[in-house]
């Protein structure tokens, strides 16, 4: 359940087209310390794949990602 994950930073990426959600997350992850979590919402359905692929590339963790209607809601934890 989304409310069980405590986010340190929340981002609204709704309306942004690819690759901007990844760009914003990549920037935001540098502003949190290792172990902290970013929660974000986006409307570009591409993030369903792009965010997990980006996390694999950069060594971070997608704790949860799900589609809620037209919104994609996800949590990313900084691991490095």
């Amino acid at each position: 359940m989304a409310e069980e994950i405590k986010a340190n930073v929340t981002l609204n990426l709704e309306g942004l087209m690819c690759p901007m959600p990844v760009v914003r997350i990549s920037k935001a992850i540098k502003d949190v310390v290792v172990g902290e979590v970013i929660e974000a919402t986006a409307t570009d359905p591409g993030v369903l794949i792009d965010i997990p692929a980006w996390a694999r590339t950069t060594g971070n963790e997608v704790i949860k990602i799900e589609r809620e209607g037209k919104i994609v809601h996800f949590f990313v934890r900084r691991l490095k």
Partner: protein, 410 residues
């Protein structure tokens, strides 16, 4: 690393450059006639923004073998943030020196030396990662497409409308971008054109090309080529993405021995062909406002799609107008070459987009059609920054509006 740290660059780096790059390195006589061709210089007439100046920075590094962190960092900054690889300067050079090619090579050297913008390299690696572990992402992709398919059914009013994926024996492998705007309109178009098509699992964009790293670029293309071969398609149709079209149509065949066993077209070419054959029902009244088309550099100057978009728009909108200059002479919007993905350069790209903003304003058009997502993001931002008061749309989306009006009356 300190600015003086020397970065190891292979001794034979210059010798191994391809001949077209070597020609561009040697031929410039620094006459400065390329100066005004650049949108950066046009919006801010600084000597740093002269195309030949940028190329000279790269030439100096190679000539002096000055591979210090400081020099390569400065070169990287110039190659990535002072040039969008639009190649307008090449068209105007009396000798035909390809400064765009040199900047792409400089980007490649920046990547190899670790001085390139991290995010651009990450975006390329993200695409490669997606290709390496298809199974991990497959379920999510299919779930996503199912949701989009539902939207296609609602928009067409046809419960049988589909977005085919992994369809063997399809004629067309359609390679979209990841957003819904890049998948839904083409799906509707193919539905009404009764095309035998299938959607690619992979996105068209290729940050490997934008960072001038041929190895990464090839690995990104390889995913699509393998998919096309596996499905046995006759052609790849590229969605509305400038650099992806330029890459798949013109650049990538050089990286594969003997080229591709299939044809590569842009969706714009497909639409122009369908329109010329009278195979699309179109009602122009769906698009009544004055419309202009922005020539994306990778589609027009570097892609060769000069007339096709005009054939399409003339058939789909009521009032089509031109910006001046246009076609191969068009100014870059300032958002090409990957600069949109580097937030630190946002103000620079707004400044570089001034000539395009002024061009748009001069036409009085209310709608700007953009067939490239990089340009689309940039023109959206220009709209806000320069208060242009325009709406921005895609070309397939515009055609689909006209189709739906003709078919459904709405």
């Amino acid at each position: 690393m300190t600015p003086e740290t020397q970065i190891k660059v292979p001794e034979d780096y210059k010798k191994k450059l391809p001949r077209d790059v070597a020609i561009a390195l040697e031929t410039c006589v620094r006459c400065g006639l390329c100066t005004e061709s650049c949108h950066y210089y046009k919006s801010n007439p600084k000597s740093d923004f002269i195309p030949a100046y940028r190329a000279e920075v790269f030439r100096r590094i190679l000539r002096k073998k000055d591979y210090s962190e400081k020099s390569l960092g400065a070169m990287s900054d110039i190659a990535f943030s002072n040039c969008t690889l639009c190649r307008r300067c090449v068209m105007t050079c009396p000798l035909g020196v390809d400064t765009g090619l040199l900047m792409r090579e400089a980007r490649g050297l920046a990547v190899a030396s670790g001085t390139a913008p991290e995010i651009l390299v990450q975006l390329a690696d993200t695409a490669i990662s997606r290709g390496e572990d298809i199974e991990i992402f497959r379920e999510m992709f299919l779930e996503n497409i199912k949701a989009l398919e539902e939207e296609v059914r609602q928009l067409t009013g046809d419960p049988q409308a589909v977005i085919p994926v992994d369809k063997k024996g399809a004629d067309i492998l359609f390679v979209a971008l990841s957003g819904a705007h890049s998948i839904i309109p083409p799906s509707i178009l193919f539905h009404y054109a009764k095309a035998n098509w299938t959607l690619s699992f992979f996105e068209a964009s290729n940050y490997g090309v934008l960072i001038g790293d041929k190895d990464r670029a090839k690995r990104i293309v390889q995913r699509i080529v393998d998919e096309a071969k596996r499905l046995g398609v006759k052609e790849i149709v590229v969605g509305e993405c400038g650099h992806a079209y330029n890459t798949l149509r013109w650049e990538a065949p050089k990286w594969f021995d003997g080229g591709f066993p299939f044809r590569v077209r842009s969706i714009i070419e497909v639409m122009a062909h369908l329109i010329q054959e009278g195979r699309l029902p179109l009602d122009k009244s769906a698009n009544p406002e004055p419309v202009i088309y922005h020539d994306a550099c990778n589609l027009t100057r570097n892609g060769g799609l000069l007339e096709e978009p005009r054939i399409v728009l003339r058939a789909a909108v009521k009032d089509y107008r031109e910006m001046s200059p246009n076609r191969d002479d068009s100014y870059c919007c300032g958002g090409g070459g990957g600069i949109i993905a580097v937030p630190e350069w946002d103000s620079k790209r707004m400044e570089a987009g001034k000539p395009k903003a002024e061009q748009i304003k001069a036409t009085g058009a209310k709608v700007v059609i953009v067939a490239c997502d990089n340009c689309r993001i940039q023109i959206n931002d220009l709209n806000e920054h320069y208060k242009l008061g325009i709406n921005i749309g895609g070309i397939t989306e515009t055609v689909v509006k006209a189709i739906l009006k003709a078919v459904k009356g709405s």
